[in-house]
Symmetry: C2
Subunit: 456 residues, 2 copies
């Protein structure tokens, strides 16, 4: 069906005076004696195009909200440099009817109601804008890494590692609901892979294998958590960006994280001004200024030890008590970024007890070269580290945690054969979208959210 | 660690005469009385850079293959406009040792051996080249869709649909190996989602929901098949590109598929000449010419009915007999594209019995508006269709297949509320990489292949 994207018509003057055909869904419709108006949206733009129907010729039947139609007419300039289409009734063809029980009749539905119609909510302005932001941010991330010589890799989703009693991991099976097998061993040997398998919570370990060959890599794919967390910030299935870089120390990791984040937000502001203004107007006043502020300043930097001191001296009444060795809670993270630094801030060098086995051990014997990026309004958005590149130190950290070294022989090989300083970080894609749109519930930034008890 | 990517040095003259620091792994090393040579690779390029060590000053210990090191020196132009680094022994720092049991000592390992060391094989030229092609093709696909106003969407991987007795689907569970629950019902209600869940085999149905809101969308994510197919062409976990377009009929789908494929292959030829030459030399003679041929001609087009006639009149001795109504086998597909058309060819309008319920029913009552793209050397690489947009016809096709309509109410709503002609196709990413590299086994074009019985 030859037609022109409404986005193209709206964003260019070259169509003025031209005859074009557009297709779309009716958002609103008004009818008067001699002229009728249809607001048409085809999904390519947050904005509708207005069809001005000159009713002189032919019969005109006013289309209902939600109907799909095709219209051919001339583009003219409307008020405020908008574009309109002048079309005759005979040049408007209804493609699909829409009965009056269409759930999106009126504007102003709650987000909660919209979650009950995930297959239709994308037809609203809000979700049109969220999905476009999501798409543009994804493209900007690819662009950033590609132009900096990173190789995009796909780490496996079905994994055999970390499946030993990991309560937060989904199991993957072809015999799981089959009562035929009585023991766990019998299950496993009869299963598709001949052993236990689960859905990966992170591609980092495989990312390290690729980075210590390709130099710089990034993943962009789904990760899974079978966590029983029914909160506005947790998904059982989320998208994850995990760059990993060889010949890099903690400072390099920090530099990359800041550079990447600024790049993609700058790109978003340039590419989606309508969407950002929409969110600023309807979801978070001051969003645009907040994002512009973020990218125009150097991010702050503080060690965990300094941060603990700042929190202890703050006089604030935190729900969770603060002492050296504790995990930072969201209230602490927000205090640091919102009250102390008033901007994005990297917190580094956490106690080794609260961080993962693979993080580089600092000379002090107490901390590891970890980094979290805290941003105002959200808290932690990125977590990363330099990795322990020393074979013996890594083994020691794993033994301290009673890990089964046999399951990690591939990973340990990276420290045996040409080990290099390397590091990386993880960015939860949905957290980034929440942060850049002001959407407060993670269920509203992914098409079909998966959460505990919910899989529609 | 401040250093310059070897790729940057190799591809630009601006470093000549400059002092730079490079990091990488030793590929080979030669030592003579006054001078030594190290071929260093940092993964950013298929090519190594040669370090020429002037042994006059300081002590020089020849590095072993696989060791990682850092070297600082001046860039000079070598033979054939190559770049070399002149470095003093004191400016070479070993980062990581590499014992002599390093598996990649010599060149010329078999691909089969390499599959036994998936965590190290990326350090070879072959896999360095495959992963870069993979990355560049992925970026080109994003680029193509983004510049044509498509919205990148992420469809859910864990799905509740199609889980009724689908033998080819992996089950996802948090209680699957738990012998506590005795009946299937008890399992399900106690499971994470409170019901059966599985890993998606395709994002198409959700893609349609997004396309009938956003106009043009594409997915790029993993799909899963629990098929017991231990062949060089099947993976249990593969990456899938599925564009879906509203206001599109079969001809539009075909046009998009051709345009997209030509775009990404053109991009690959421009971006990865070294890699393509490498594959041409070592894996498939004539690869480059074949790809250039592909993008310089209009793809052919034939209906299924015509194709059957061509096959029947061919005089060929096919293993699988040919008659109207049969599925085309790879031998048939290759005959059509290699012998009849001698180029890529779209086969359209297949018998409805051998295609899916959602495909648009043609007026003849026998065929559906399906399309497969066949390419020389491989066979089918893309499969798509216009979708049935008529509510009653779709219901009829589902009833013919005894499908449970209740499970598809969301999908049916798309035909109820503003239905539009729409269509799309699926491209298996690994098939595209095989086709563009000449790699013959799908296990060699994905980092960590998942196949029946194998999950390392």
């Amino acid at each position: 069906m030859k037609h022109t994207d409404i986005k193209e018509i709206i964003s260019s003057d070259k169509y003025i005076g031209q005859q074009v055909t557009v297709c779309g869904w009716v958002r609103t419709s008004r009818n008067s004696k001699s002229v009728a108006f249809i607001e048409l949206n085809d999904g390519t733009s947050l904005k509708n195009i207005q069809i001005v129907v000159e009713k002189g010729e032919g019969e005109y039947k006013e289309p209902r909200v939600g109907m799909s139609l095709k219209a051919t007419g001339n583009i003219v300039e409307g008020r405020n440099h908008t574009k309109e289409i002048n079309a005759l009734p005979s040049h408007i063809t209804i493609l699909g009817d829409c009965p009056t029980d269409y759930p999106l009749q009126k504007k102003g539905h709650t987000l909660e109601f919209m979650r009950s119609i995930p297959h239709l909510r994308s037809r609203s302005n809000t979700f049109n804008a969220v999905w476009r932001v999501r798409s543009v941010l994804a493209a900007a991330l690819h662009e950033y890494f590609q132009k900096n010589n990173y190789v995009y890799i796909n780490t496996p989703l079905i994994t055999g590692s970390d499946c030993e009693g990991a309560g937060e991991m989904f199991q993957v099976t072809t015999v799981g609901y089959n009562a035929e097998y009585k023991s766990e061993e019998e299950y496993c040997t009869n299963d598709f892979f001949g052993r236990k398998a689960g859905l990966s919570v992170s591609g980092q370990l495989e990312g390290e294998m690729a980075a210590t060959a390709m130099g710089k890599i990034y993943t962009f794919g789904p990760s899974f958590r079978a966590e029983n967390s029914n909160t506005p910030k947790h998904l059982a299935e989320f998208w994850h960006i995990e760059p990993e870089v060889a010949f890099a120390e903690l400072d390099d990791v920090i530099e990359i994280a800041e550079d990447m984040l600024k790049y993609v937000i700058r790109r978003l502001l340039d590419t989606c001004p309508d969407e950002i203004n929409f969110f600023d107007a309807h979801f978070e006043k001051g969003l645009k200024a907040r994002l512009e502020e973020l990218i125009s300043h150097d991010f702050g930097r503080v060690t965990y030890t300094e941060a603990i001191k700042l929190l202890q001296e703050s006089g604030e009444n935190f729900v969770y008590p603060v002492e050296w060795g504790c995990d930072l809670q969201t209230e602490h993270e927000r205090y640091i970024s919102e009250k102390v630094f008033k901007k994005a801030v990297f917190v580094t060098d956490y106690p080794k007890e609260i961080k993962s086995f693979y993080m580089k051990q600092n000379p002090d014997g107490k901390t590891v070269a970890a980094v979290d990026l805290l941003v105002p309004g959200v808290g932690e958005i990125i977590g990363g580290s330099e990795r322990e590149a020393d074979y013996d130190k890594l083994i020691a950290a794993m033994n301290e945690r009673n890990m089964n070294l046999d399951l990690y022989s591939d990973y340990l090989d990276l420290r045996k054969y040409g080990s290099v300083p390397h590091g990386g970080f993880g960015l939860g894609f949905e957290r980034l979208i929440m942060y850049t749109t002001g959407m407060a519930n993670i269920r509203d930034v992914i098409l079909f959210p998966r959460t505990v008890g919910s899989i529609r």
